[in-house]
């Protein structure tokens, strides 16, 4: 049992990867109902309660990655670019919040980058004359192209 305590303390200090293993062996609820808890009071050292190790910000970073991937997928669907815009902005805010929580793994950067790609792609798919986009604007803003694009969306979405 003393070795169990030592295992506890070690597992608490070695980071998030041990969380799942720790849950398997020592669940919170069992600890206080076991008889060994009564014996712990007689030890010299204080038993550290095995709180679940929650990595702050990790869920948000994963969520931002998922939203970034979805926002990239929705770029190529005509007016689904709006969905792409909204999801990418939410993903960016989530990644920023994860950064503020102190989560510094690569998942956060990946979520940020995918949301950025989704944002820029959504803008290109939708907006005209965002401070007059560069040379691409010359191709896509000629009169015939605008008319053809408007006709396409008009017919595709059922003559709104």
């Amino acid at each position: 049992m003393d070795s169990n305590n030592l295992n506890n303390e070690n597992m608490n200090t070695t980071g998030a990867e041990n969380q799942t293993q720790g849950q398997g062996q020592f669940s919170n609820q069992n600890q206080y109902s076991q008889n060994q808890y009564g014996q712990n009071n007689q030890n010299q050292y204080y038993q550290v309660p095995n709180y679940p190790v929650v990595v702050p910000g990790k869920n948000k970073a994963v969520a931002s990655l998922v939203l970034g991937i979805i926002s990239i997928v929705f770029i190529w669907g005509g007016f689904s670019g709006f969905v792409s815009l909204i999801l990418s902005v939410i993903g960016l805010v989530l990644a920023s919040s994860a950064k503020k929580d102190g989560f510094n793994e690569g998942i956060r950067t990946a979520g940020f980058v995918t949301c950025l790609i989704g944002l820029i792609g959504g803008l290109l798919a939708l907006l005209a004359c965002v401070a007059c986009v560069g040379a691409l604007g010359a191709v896509s803003s000629s009169r015939e192209f605008e008319r053809a694009a408007d006709d396409f969306f008009y017919n595709f979405y059922g003559k709104y």
Partner: protein
């Protein structure tokens, strides 16, 4: 971490900038928008078109500056560290945007008589075609590139980094004020003889001028 902080602040201030530009566009064109809503039968299409197009640069500038302030406070960073890095980006981005304006034909100039210093569009959907216009977009692009290089050099040499912002806020509004007299598209509202951009230029230049004037003589200023 420093570079990553700057990237995050830049992206979010760009989002703030787009919001600000759109808000200023809605404010300036409020009368036309209300009239258009009264005349149309296709409300969804009109709303989509309003979301899709129509931005004013000064709203974007003010939105970006608000964004920098908000995000540096959100992350608990010192604003002055990042201003001298982020502010020179603004004229650089704007210069490329102006080149795009020149290629497409929006933000066009007034008709001119000069045969050398003019641009004539044949197929533009924004500018009047087959009319010789003053190439204000190219002029502004060149001026913005010059401002960018100047800001970078000053930002490297100066000790009080926050002054880079005020130098930009004097240089660009002066250039914009002068160029606005050569502009041919007055859709953005005219108040008492000067357009909205000129009024905002005056306000920004006055604000930055007072800030610069007050900081002369403090340690670190040339």
């Amino acid at each position: 971490m420093q570079r990553e902080n700057a990237v995050y602040i830049y992206v979010f201030s760009a989002l703030f900038a787009m919001l600000g530009a759109k808000i200023l566009y809605l404010l300036v064109s409020a009368g036309d928008i209300i009239k258009a809503y009264g005349n149309t039968t296709n409300y969804l299409g009109l709303t989509v078109e309003l979301i899709r197009g129509g931005f004013v640069f000064y709203g974007g500038l003010i939105g970006a500056l608000i964004g920098i302030n908000v995000m540096t406070r959100y992350y608990g960073l010192v604003k002055n560290d990042y201003i001298s890095i982020l502010v020179p980006c603004i004229p650089l981005v704007h210069a490329f945007g102006r080149i795009g304006c020149h290629v497409v034909g929006c933000c066009y100039g007034a008709p001119t008589h000069s045969h050398f210093f003019s641009v004539t569009y044949q197929d533009s959907i924004y500018a009047p075609n087959n009319v010789a216009l003053v190439p204000v977009q190219l002029t502004e692009a060149v001026i913005e590139f010059a401002i960018f290089i100047t800001l970078v050099i000053i930002g490297i040499r100066i000790k009080e980094k926050s002054l880079v912002l005020y130098i930009y806020l004097i240089a660009y509004p002066i250039a914009r004020f002068i160029l606005e007299f050569y502009r041919g598209d007055e859709i953005r509202g005219v108040f008492a003889g000067l357009s909205t951009s000129q009024w905002i230029s005056l306000i920004l230049a006055a604000y930055a001028g007072t800030k610069l004037y007050r900081s002369v003589g403090k340690p670190g200023v040339k």
